[in-house]
């Protein structure tokens, strides 16, 4: 069980009013707000701990390095991986680009993505295909937002090198059975690499790298209560030294000469330059925060919100929900019949409610549904049933205004 009052007290921004109304923040799929302990960790870092890492022999640098590397251990354990498998990046998009630019797969390979992917899990692969005479293969979905898994086997050919799938759709909230898919693919051909986009799953559910058995797993800090500019690329340990670097520089080497440079093994090889140290420390704090609340508690609480919202919205005749079922993370995407999502979002904002409108960086998914965009409400740990009620009331008023 979640003690909402206690949770909300930890997020200073939730005291804010917008348009003379208390803020109802339902745009967690875009980014979450930050708890005091994460904010404090950044302030503390700059007030007491700031130094460059992996460089100096002085005490402050050593302590900052220890803090940074301890964060790697915390993040690794959060997803049940080993610290040697965790590369810190700027976020999910950065992580996927790092993989796409570092792959050592044959020219002309085929890469499979699904119809529901975020642009960030399409474009790096599309670019790879353009540059390497590759072929982007699409795994279709059904109207209720499920992957057509039965078609996957038929899409796999001898040229398939990688499959990139999201664990949770950012637009629909649908949870994909990635564990089963990975198992199935590895059975067909264990050489096929699998990347799972966890940007929308890690904030809402427990993920376990040993259990999933994917080759790459990517997620962002800022969607899970951590600072912007923190992100993770998990690479299965046996693969990390086969991935080429797309960026290089300070902090990645053993020795450098103009003739030949020898790089270090492991994650540091990919973390060229001074990293976003305080964001990484904040990310570890956010993992601690989620562990303190309990990930199962977060999932259960958010699911109650989803269930409530879905029930209430289904009762409004003008509302059409996409993927209208409950196998979803805390996301509900809908349209008001005959109304543009922009209008609905604008009026909801006037009532103090922050939702996202538009194509959510999933234009191929929008094309599939034949729409321009949707209104998306996405919940976080600090949201309450009362807020859902305020939202539903505001939506009803907005519909009335628009008609």
């Amino acid at each position: 069980m979640i003690d909402s009052k206690h949770i909300r007290e930890q997020f200073p921004i939730l005291k804010k009013w917008v348009n003379n109304k208390p803020l109802v923040y339902f745009d967690n799929g875009a980014t979450t707000q930050k708890p005091q302990m994460v904010i404090d960790s950044i302030v503390k870092y700059y007030s007491e701990q700031n130094a460059n890492i992996h460089r100096g022999v002085h005490t402050l640098s050593r302590e900052a390095t220890e803090l940074f590397e301890a964060s790697r251990t915390t993040v690794a354990s959060f997803i049940n991986a080993r610290p040697e498998e965790i590369i810190f990046t700027a976020g999910t998009t950065d992580s996927i680009n790092l993989v796409a630019n570092g792959l050592t797969i044959a020219k002309g390979s085929e890469i499979i993505v699904s119809q529901m992917e975020h642009h960030s899990n399409i474009l790096p692969w599309q670019l790879w295909c353009e540059r390497n005479e590759g072929k982007l293969v699409i795994l279709p979905i059904t109207k209720d937002g499920s992957l057509k898994i039965e078609e996957l086997e038929g899409k796999i050919t001898k040229n398939t090198a990688l499959i990139a799938l999201t664990q949770v759709s950012n637009t629909l909230g649908v949870i994909n059975p990635v564990k089963e898919i990975i198992k199935k693919v590895k059975k067909i051909n264990s050489e096929i690499l699998i990347l799972i986009d966890g940007a929308q799953s890690v904030p809402h559910m427990s993920v376990d790298m040993k259990e999933l058995d994917c080759d790459f797993f990517v997620f962002s800090g800022h969607k899970m209560y951590a600072p912007t500019g923190s992100g993770v690329l998990f690479v299965k340990e046996n693969l990390i030294n086969t991935l080429k670097q797309s960026r290089t520089g300070g902090g990645t080497i053993k020795t450098v000469s103009f003739e030949k440079t020898e790089y270090v093994d492991g994650p540091l090889r990919f973390e060229a330059g001074t990293p976003n140290i305080e964001a990484v420390i904040g990310l570890a704090k956010a993992c601690e925060f989620m562990n303190l609340v309990g990930i199962k508690n977060i999932s259960d609480h958010e699911h109650l919100l989803l269930e409530h919202a879905q029930k209430e919205l289904s009762a409004i005749s003008e509302v059409e929900i996409y993927a209208n079922h409950l196998n979803k993370a805390a996301v509900i995407s809908f349209n008001v019949k005959g109304q543009h999502p922009f209008d609905v979002g604008t009026l909801l904002d006037k009532y103090g409610i922050a939702v996202r409108t538009g194509h959510h960086c999933t234009q191929p998914l929008m094309s599939y549904y034949g729409i321009q965009g949707t209104v998306r409400a996405s919940f976080g740990v600090y949201n309450t049933k009362e807020e859902v009620d305020i939202f539903v009331e505001a939506l009803k008023k907005s519909i009335k205004l628009l008609n």
């Binding site: 109304q339 543009h340 999502p341 922009f342 209008d343 009026l347 006037k350 409108t357 321009q372 008023k397």
Partner: protein, 138 residues
């Protein structure tokens, strides 16, 4: 009427709502609904204004020394904004359009739509109208 006079007229029209935003938006939506339809042949790719989350088409014509606009949008609030702008600019001289400061937007409490982050692109809309006015009279 001059641009300034039309602006004054709009300000007094919105005055009755005071600080009550729902009335203002209801009025804006009504204005959007009453916007004269754009000729289908003018809903071209070139007439789409970039920078809007909703699609906005704007057609501009030069006739008897004056500029005339027709427009359309698939979002009704955006359409209301377009309707207001057309009311202010229609049949005016290019020079007056380009020089208009449009203080009425602030006066009627719709300044928030001028922020560059607003996806309805009122700023893009105004820029396009001024640009067209300038170009058509070159």
């Amino acid at each position: 009427m001059s641009i300034k006079e039309i602006e004054e007229e709009i300000i007094s029209e919105f005055e009755i709502f005071g600080d009550e935003w729902e009335g203002k938006y209801e009025h804006l939506i009504d204005l959007g609904k009453s916007l004269t339809k754009i000729d289908e042949k003018n809903k071209t790719e070139e007439n789409i204004i970039k920078g809007c989350q909703s699609r906005v088409w704007l057609n501009s014509e030069f006739k008897d020394g004056k500029i005339f606009f027709t427009a359309e949008s698939d979002a009704i609030i955006t359409k209301g904004m377009v309707a207001l702008m057309i009311r202010v600019f229609n049949g005016q001289k290019a020079k007056d359009i380009v020089e208009a400061k449009l203080e009425f937007i602030d006066e009627i409490g719709l300044t928030e739509h001028l922020s560059p982050t607003r996806a309805n692109g009122l700023v893009s809309m105004i820029n396009r109208m001024k640009y067209d006015a300038l170009n058509l009279t070159k």
